[in-house]
């Protein structure tokens, strides 16, 4: 050292600088050891995770066909505008809102909602911003690729309902799984994720897991902006299975037309094959267009239409056939009659009861619509004698009525294979409540219950099922809309990770009927009464079709108890035909129009006419007609 200056101690100070520098470099070395040697695998995994992405390839959903193979629902290709997560990570997304809204004709609120969703759920690569993109949308996205690298166009099959409002309640619709559903075990266990399309309502919901295909994916390498650099692996999707339904499109069309032509345009028509429970037609009016839900939920107009459906006081979203509960009125007398015979309140040989033009309970007189003397059962059915049933029910007692309710399953769901079916309300369900509130079950309630009023409100499907079972000598089938699922082949190579096993075809899982014990004589007396309603000058005589005998029962149900003061009665007609060898059972209900024979029966007749025309070439089946000697006499 040439600069000897001990007061400054320069040499020592230079050593200090050198030591400090080396210590700092050593610290860097220690940190390197920690990051690269100790935790190297962890960071490699992090790097791997952020550059490899799985892009799902949606699987086409199975089609839904009518029993003759006509298309009811299918999927057609549409283009979606898809938003990638990665490029959005480092930017303020609120700046994008007005741009997207203008460029893609979307509502700013909706865009904000979507952007927030994708920001929050950062494990997801992409999310649909707009479905069914138009050519203009596609052009806009393509021309703004540099500005908005997060947007891309993807091909996706879109559910399409070619018949619009027809069958809407049966088919349901599809939509993106809701955040609430994602929480539920039912959906979680099926491995569903946000953005997945699931069936909502109707067959789409009931058979979602079979209609749904198994999505494939593309494993790709992406850069930090989420742009695909290269493809590592592709797994092709497996399409969903096609569903052959029990619906007969011709009968369905007629049913819908009949309801549309009715006075109030509100009601239900169901046609069922009583031999197996297959539903041939199921119409509930007013209806809705499922396409609005599948395509419209992303557009302002669509959202307005959906809101209008929800707010409509006529409740078009509500499936009246399985969710509506109506007093059955006189149609109730059919299962009641059979119950009385089974329990021995009356016998086939001695079924006469007094009409008396009505009955007095306490100081209240409840009248019959006519004065029928003391008629036998068949006559009472044919002419819908209320007085007969007042006394019959009092003889059966409320316990007898409840036993009948249990026999015909009015205390449970019919088991139809579409969701949200309601259970009818009957004296069985009301009795404990009434006794708690009023201290006892009074006779007047039994009298009202005998003609399907007051404590009796039933779903049309449960009533049809019960009445049809009588036409079948007691075989009560589970009504259903699923006839058959078509099989689908395997995808990929067996044993590999992208192998999807073949899915076999199958039919309805509950084909066995409940057997209700009834003798041939009991069957005869009830069905003869029903035969007379149409064929023997009864309350439904107006719809007689020569050569095609219909067994039916009209009903005219007062609904003042529902609080709709001044509203007209509900018109019912429940039937099966040919009367003694039924091939089809039909129930009709028109809300608030008046007499059942005048309003509901003609609508049902329309369905029968189409049935004859399409199934029997316009000629009624042979042996369907029986001798007029059957007409019941007093």
């Amino acid at each position: 050292m040439k600069l000897n200056d001990y007061t400054q101690n320069v040499g020592m100070r230079m050593i200090v600088i050198q030591v400090v520098a080396f210590v700092l470099l050593t610290l860097l070395g220690v940190r390197l050891y920690y990051l690269q040697i100790v935790h190297g695998d962890y960071w490699s995994g992090r790097a791997e995770n952020q550059r490899v992405r799985l892009i799902p390839i949606p699987a086409p959903r199975g089609a839904i066909l009518d029993r003759n193979g006509k298309i009811l629902v299918d999927s057609r290709p549409t283009y979606n505008v898809v938003l990638s997560n990665e490029p959005l990570k480092t930017i303020d997304v609120s700046e994008r809102v007005p741009e997207y809204a203008r460029g893609l004709n979307l509502e700013p609120d909706f865009v904000t909602e979507r952007l927030n969703l994708i920001k929050k759920q950062n494990e997801f690569e992409a999310m649909v911003l707009k479905e069914s993109a138009t050519m203009q949308d596609i052009a806009w996205v393509e021309s703004h690729g540099l500005e908005f690298p997060e947007l891309r166009i993807e091909l996706q099959p879109q559910r399409f309902y070619p018949h619009g409002t027809m069958l809407a309640h049966v088919l349901g619709y599809v939509g993106e799984i809701s955040p609430k559903q994602l929480e539920q075990d039912e959906y979680k266990s099926r491995g569903l994720r946000p953005g997945d399309i699931i069936g909502k309502g109707g067959l789409e919901q009931s058979y979602d897991q079979f209609l749904r295909g198994r999505p494939g994916y593309r494993k790709v390498l992406v850069d930090s902006r989420g742009r695909v650099q290269s493809e590592i692996e592709v797994v092709q999707p497996q399409a969903g299975q096609d569903l052959l339904s029990t619906i007969d499109l011709d009968l369905q069309t007629t049913a819908e037309q009949q309801l549309a032509a009715s006075v109030t345009k509100r009601g239900v028509l169901i046609a069922m094959d009583p031999n197996n429970g297959e539903i041939l037609a199921l119409a509930s009016a007013p209806s809705f267009d499922p396409n609005v839900f599948t395509q419209g939920s992303k557009t302002p107009e669509g959202r307005r239409q959906i809101a209008a459906y929800w707010q409509d006081k006529d409740r078009p979203l509500y499936n009246r056939a399985i969710q509506g509960k109506y007093p059955p009125g006189s149609t109730w007398k059919i299962p009641e009659s059979m119950g009385a015979l089974q329990q021995g309140a009356i016998t086939v040989q001695n079924s006469n009861m007094t009409c008396g033009g009505g009955i007095t309970i306490g100081n209240k007189f409840t009248r019959c619509m006519g004065s029928h003397g003391s008629p036998p059962l068949s006559y009472a059915i044919t002419h819908s004698c209320d007085g007969y049933y007042y006394r019959l029910a009092l003889k059966m007692k409320i316990e007898g009525l409840i036993q009948m309710i249990e026999t015909f399953d009015f205390d449970k769901r019919s088991g139809i294979d579409i969701p949200n079916e309601k259970v009818s309300e009957t004296p069985k369900s009301w009795k404990p409540l009434v006794e708690k509130r009023e201290g006892r079950w009074s006779d007047i309630r039994t009298v009202y219950a005998s003609i399907g009023q007051d404590t009796v409100v039933v779903t049309p499907i449960s009533l049809l099922r019960a009445v049809a079972s009588i036409g079948m000598h007691g075989k009560m089938y589970v009504p259903h809309l699923m006839k058959e699922f078509k099989p689908i082949g395997a995808m990929g190579e067996e044993g590999s990770s992208d192998y999807f096993a073949a899915r076999p075809g199958f039919g309805f899982d509950r084909p066995e009927p409940k057997l209700i014990p009834m003798t041939d004589e009991q069957y005869d007396v009830v069905v003869k009464g029903m035969w007379g309603v149409v064929q023997g000058g009864g309350t439904g005589a107006g719809i007689r079709i020569p050569g095609f005998d219909i067994a039916g029962k009209t009903g005219t149900a007062q609904n003042s108890s529902l609080g709709s003061n001044g509203a007209k009665d509900h018109a019912w007609f429940v039937s099966f035909a040919p009367a003694f060898k039924p091939e089809i059972a039909v129930i009709g209900l028109i809300e608030n129009v008046g007499f059942g024979g005048t309003h509901a029966a003609p609508a049902v007749k329309g369905v029968y006419e189409t049935f004859i025309a399409t199934r029997h070439g316009g000629v009624p089946p042979a042996d369907a007609s029986v001798e007029p000697r059957l007409v019941a006499k007093r």
Binding site: K2, I17, L32, L35, G40, R46, A47, R51, L221
Partner: protein, 372 residues
């Protein structure tokens, strides 16, 4: 100015230090290529090394004493260039007006070049000091010399560059007999004042949110939003850690920089690229190379026969050590993200030229140690 090259000069030429610097720069070219193989940064860097070596040899064969004598002139010129940045000739990049674009010469960063005149000016002033402890007056003059360039750089504003100037003065003051108790007192004061100032800065809003986030990313990297301002730090740490023991060895298709996860891979984060491609082995080798380079420089300072020469070398060595630590510390996620290039490695002509010029002075001084 260029002296006649004598035989004796060549004999005393420090080949080891020169070759070490060139080797590190060449290693840097390889890493720049690894960072962005499809871009031309690496080939530009080779041209840059050629230009820098030319300047290096001009300085090596000039008499450093005459250059130190002319220090005030160079210092003034440096300030002029820094002022030029703030005129319309300045070019704004990422919100910082740190560049000047001149016809023919092209675009360059005066805040890099101005380090050399600042070092020379400090060495000239403190080199005249004869002995005894540092006075307050001398300290203030030192601060004033530094305040010129640092003040102009803060106007750009470029806090990262400004910070790299402080070691220049710190080394000079330390070696000019500042009392040890002041040094210790200053360190203690800093230990108290820095957190306090940060707290006050956050409360008053002087420290902006992004700056705060960058600090938080160091203190607690897992809780910070990896997509926000912590992104650089998190991605850099991922890149370094991914390298493992021996690096990814050429699989550039999936590298962090090619897929653009690592920002600024050819400049500020070149060390992360090195770590990804060459792993722990490569990084430790690089650290040893830097350590050897610094040792050689400090050895040169010991052998210097006059005070200004010693101060020039030590000031440069300290500044280099500081920059290496700041840059690598940032890449390793232990220091906040500030734009300090890695000496000799980061792409960029201005920094490369400045570093080679600085090393040129060191060699020049060492070569002339037996003169007089």
């Amino acid at each position: 100015m260029v002296a006649i090259i004598e035989k004796r000069d060549l004999r005393d030429f420090d080949w080891l230090t020169t070759l070490l610097a060139i080797a590190i720069a060449a290693f840097g070219v390889w890493q720049i290529h690894n960072a962005l193989p499809n871009e031309s940064y690496w080939s530009k860097q080779i041209v840059g090394i050629g230009i820098a070596l030319f300047a290096f040899f001009v300085i090596v064969f000039s008499d450093y004493r005459r250059i130190i004598d002319l220090a005030p002139f160079f210092y003034g010129f440096g300030l002029l260039l820094l002022a030029l940045v703030l005129t319309p000739l300045g070019v704004e990049v990422n919100g910082q007006q740190a560049w000047v674009k001149l016809p023919v010469i092209g675009q360059f960063q005066p805040s890099e070049f101005a380090k050399i005149p600042t070092v020379l000016m400090l060495a000239r002033y403190f080199g005249q000091k004869k002995g005894g402890a540092l006075t307050i007056r001398e300290t203030l003059v030192g601060v004033a010399i530094l305040a010129g360039p640092v003040g102009l750089i803060m106007l750009e504003p470029d806090a990262g560059q400004a910070i790299t100037y402080f070691p220049l003065l710190a080394a000079v003051l330390f070696l000019s007999g500042i009392k040890v108790r002041y040094v210790i007192g200053g360190l203690v004061l800093a230990a108290i004042m820095i957190p306090t100032a940060y707290y006050v800065g956050v409360q008053t809003g002087v420290i902006k949110r992004y700056q705060q986030e960058r600090i938080n990313a160091i203190l607690d990297p897992e809780s910070v939003d990896p997509r926000g301002y912590g992104y650089h730090t998190v991605q850099s740490v991922i890149t370094v850690g991914k390298g493992g023991i021996a690096g990814i060895q050429g699989d550039s298709q999936t590298s962090q920089s090619v897929l653009k996860f690592l920002p600024e891979p050819q400049t500020d984060f070149i060390f992360a690229v090195t770590a990804e491609n060459t792993g722990f082995v490569g990084c430790i080798s690089l650290l040893l190379a830097y350590a050897l380079l610094l040792s050689r420089m400090i050895a040169g300072a010991r052998e210097a026969n006059e005070r200004p020469a010693m101060l020039v070398i030590m000031s440069i060595a300290t500044a280099l050590a500081f920059q290496i630590f700041m840059n690598m510390g940032m890449a390793l996620g232990v220091l906040p993200v500030i734009g300090v290039p890695l000496p000799l490695m980061s792409a960029g002509l201005s920094a490369l030229l400045t570093t080679f010029c600085a090393i040129g002075f060191v060699i020049s001084i060492r070569m002339r140690r037996f003169v007089n």
